[in-house]
Symmetry: C3
Subunit: 356 residues, 3 copies
């Protein structure tokens, strides 16, 4: 179940250039490259003549020459040259995808191009480019469906059990007040912890020796974006809603994730974890980056173990969507899943297709 009429991250900007990049996105083969003026392009990665991926060919100026029989396609997907012929055949076209580059990422739109509106690209990954922030960044290939990754990021009680050596401790799971707000398709899960012991990373980076007030705000935007704000202050100072949503207080960090399904059970996870340079002193930068890569690996092990367990269970497709039961901490992820199902139903209805 993938939303088609939505922007997805196709690649990190740095990975799209004058070498052809073939990548499977939403079960389709896509080729990415840059025109000579630097504009990124995304085309169907398949020559309609005999199915060779165009990424096996080469760029000639802004056009791709197929690596098999030399048919040439322009950025609009039209064939401009058939070797040995005066005229290219009119059936020889490849699909093009709307592409926008922003915040260090190349976004693409797999659905109806007429509906592609740049204004709906989430704006929050601004920290990707801001010099005042220290960043750990990456692209994780996940052998699990994209909703398992979204689930993870919308229930941060898992920090206690999955990330106990850095950002989690017992209080994170036990002592949080949870609130979930939905505005339109946007789901916001806030966890507020008063007068709790600081987790290890908070002591290391901020020098806390006493209890703290701590907050975690996970925001979901369809199809598959998550923005997390983590903050803390000395116990008793507290934080109002605006602070919880946007500031890190005395110590914290922000997290951005964009999940792009490769197939039903594999996902490209693009991510940034950023700490303001005031909160990550020079001598701790390498440690910060290394720790955050470690945190991502800990999560990866979880998603993939879930997917293996689900694959082993004949009834799993339903259990994944409708687990045997839910707990209060699921409220955010259930809102996310409801939102995705509703939007998917709308898309299917718009296409005149019965919902799956």
């Amino acid at each position: 179940m993938f939303l088609k009429n939505a922007w997805y991250v196709a690649a990190w900007s740095k990975d799209v250039g004058r070498d052809l990049l073939g990548r499977i996105l939403l079960n389709e083969y896509v080729v990415l490259y840059r025109k000579e003026d630097g504009t990124p392009v995304a085309l169907e990665n398949r020559c309609p003549h005999r199915n060779l991926p165009l990424s096996e060919g080469r760029l000639i100026g802004d056009e791709i020459e197929c690596g098999y029989h030399g048919m040439v396609y322009d950025c609009a997907g039209a064939c401009t040259h058939l070797p040995g012929s005066a005229e290219p055949p009119d059936w020889a076209t490849v699909r093009t995808f709307p592409v926008v580059e922003r915040h260090g990422w190349v976004f693409y739109w797999p659905g109806d191009p007429a509906l592609a509106d740049e204004a709906t690209i989430p704006d929050y990954p601004k920290h990707n480019l801001d010099e005042d922030w220290i960043r750990a960044q990456g692209q994780t290939y996940v052998k699990a469906g994209y909703r398992l990754v979204l689930d993870n990021l919308l229930d941060l009680s898992h920090l206690t059990y999955v990330h106990g050596s850095t950002t989690g401790n017992r209080a994170v799971a036990e002592a949080a007040n949870l609130s979930v707000d939905q505005e339109g398709d946007n789901v916001r899960v806030t966890r507020w912890m008063e007068d709790i012991e600081p987790a290890l990373a908070f002591r290391e980076y901020a020098g806390y020796t006493n209890n703290i007030d701590r907050w975690q705000m996970s925001q979901f935007l369809p199809p598959a974006y998550i923005n997390i704000n983590n903050g803390s202050v000395d116990a008793g100072i507290g934080a109002d809603t605006d602070t919880r949503n946007n500031d890190q207080g005395k110590w914290g960090f922000v997290v951005y994730h964009a999940m792009t399904p490769e197939t039903d059970t594999t996902t490209h996870q693009f991510w940034t974890v950023a700490g303001h340079k005031d909160k990550v002193p020079d001598h701790m930068r390498d440690l910060f980056v290394e720790q955050m890569h470690g945190v991502l690996k800990e999560d990866l092990d979880i998603y993939e173990a879930q997917q293996r367990a689900i694959d082993m269970d004949p009834a799993a497709p339903n259990r994944d969507a409708n687990p045997r039961g839910t707990i209060p901490a699921d409220e955010g992820l259930l809102a996310m899943r409801r939102t995705l199902r509703r939007l998917y139903g709308d898309e299917q209805k718009a296409e005149g297709v019965a919902a799956e």
Copy 2:
């Protein structure tokens, strides 16, 4: 086709401890561990909350804490703690399996716990723990269905062709008198060879220089146990039925196998080959152990080659059960397969399900 209401070996005792052991058994994911008092436990290896295998979590006393969101399960499969809540949810339960430890093995019962009767655990693996016996032991992961392994052990004419460098020679296949007895669900195949040349291992260990009388008794007990008694005496001395079933005469050895299906086409094979210390002199112990591991590997190559050939044949499911024809040496394995089909039919009938 697996019998469910039966005891299977889940693990060697030595492999079940205070580290969580996740293992696929009969197409289900099971987690094994020991309580602080040493009692082994087997639970469904899946948190009902979000499908993480419980083996990814950790033990707290006798209970498992899920490694994702910290839900805790006791040995009865009940949730005893939900982080951040006063009460665990009542839907949060995992299946438990009856477990019995005996003879160095941990047995589990995948079916209806009400039917689990310890008295039906086969008693013959007593040599696993007896100090008077020299043992080669192992656990072989077999990429073949468990019945292919049972077939092998119920037609020992294969020793001639598969184990010619140790326990088999031409006479074993050519000169045996076969008898098959069935008592209830127990199938006993006896091969009796009079005045034959001793195979290599018999000459090496027993010092035979002249012909021998030799016997092989393979006993099958459902769902998947095989006990083999191998014996020999100088030619002309002979052996009565009780001797053939229980004694090794001048030289021989005993074999115990417990097959536990992992999936339809993969099997955990737990095994012991034991020789009495009077029959395996000290300076030949290492050789004995090494040779018996070699014998098991020779058999493994056979099962897996069969399975590959069966997988390649669209009509194989039937051909496996009903080969193009049978030979007299198949009598024992055909009795075993009839027994399994009958018991499976009984189980299906008892569950009100049409036999597969």
Copy 3:
């Protein structure tokens, strides 16, 4: 879709000997060996008793002894010995395949033996054994269906894009006159290029410094043979039809390919590229052999990338047979595919089976 009543190459002669060779051919498991008098034999590679591949057994004279329970089969597929029995069972037979050895290859006939006519074995691989020719030879395991390989060899405009460092240059794709002739089941595609720049290999081996007239003749014979004649002369000299079909002029080479499907999407490609010794001077022999192995590898990358792209496309089975559109250069391969479909339909009709 495989033609069954046809000769296929089963192996290079050098690979068939007194060691049993198991090989999957047309989705069937076949065992190949030589009798003591050197005659090659092909049998079904499966003991009808318990499915062990016969290639796991051993040769006794001209017969195979199964490696499991010692049943012996002769070259006619009859069981000649069952250990412990006076009479082999009459049901114990394995299929035999007609086999002919010619030109360094062992051919086999997977269909009705009554129809196997040696006269239909293509005669053109004579250069495999001729001392006047320098040969690069090989057997390439292709993870793609056999028709993708045939397609490649029937549209040589691909030399420009796939083999630009040796035999192809721009003129090969752009300046050729194409003609396709069909005689019965034989398709002949001739590409004739007048007054073109010589590709790199033509300059290296023949010393051309000026333009050339060049020809490529690809001949298809069912089920899956391709014979290619490549030749050239100084521009203006030209070449008549007989020369284009059979001679290499001042410089050129011949190519023979025999494709044998392993499965629907994997292929054994047997091949020879040969240059007359007058055209490949002694000091360039190693280079010639190395370059031609390189050319085959370049093609392999293409077939396998096509197959991956086809596998990714749910509608691919149809698109492979009916691509979105065709170009003039496809004329030869379309004739080949039509021929195969017609012959396959005839076979199905003869068997009273509706065409697939």
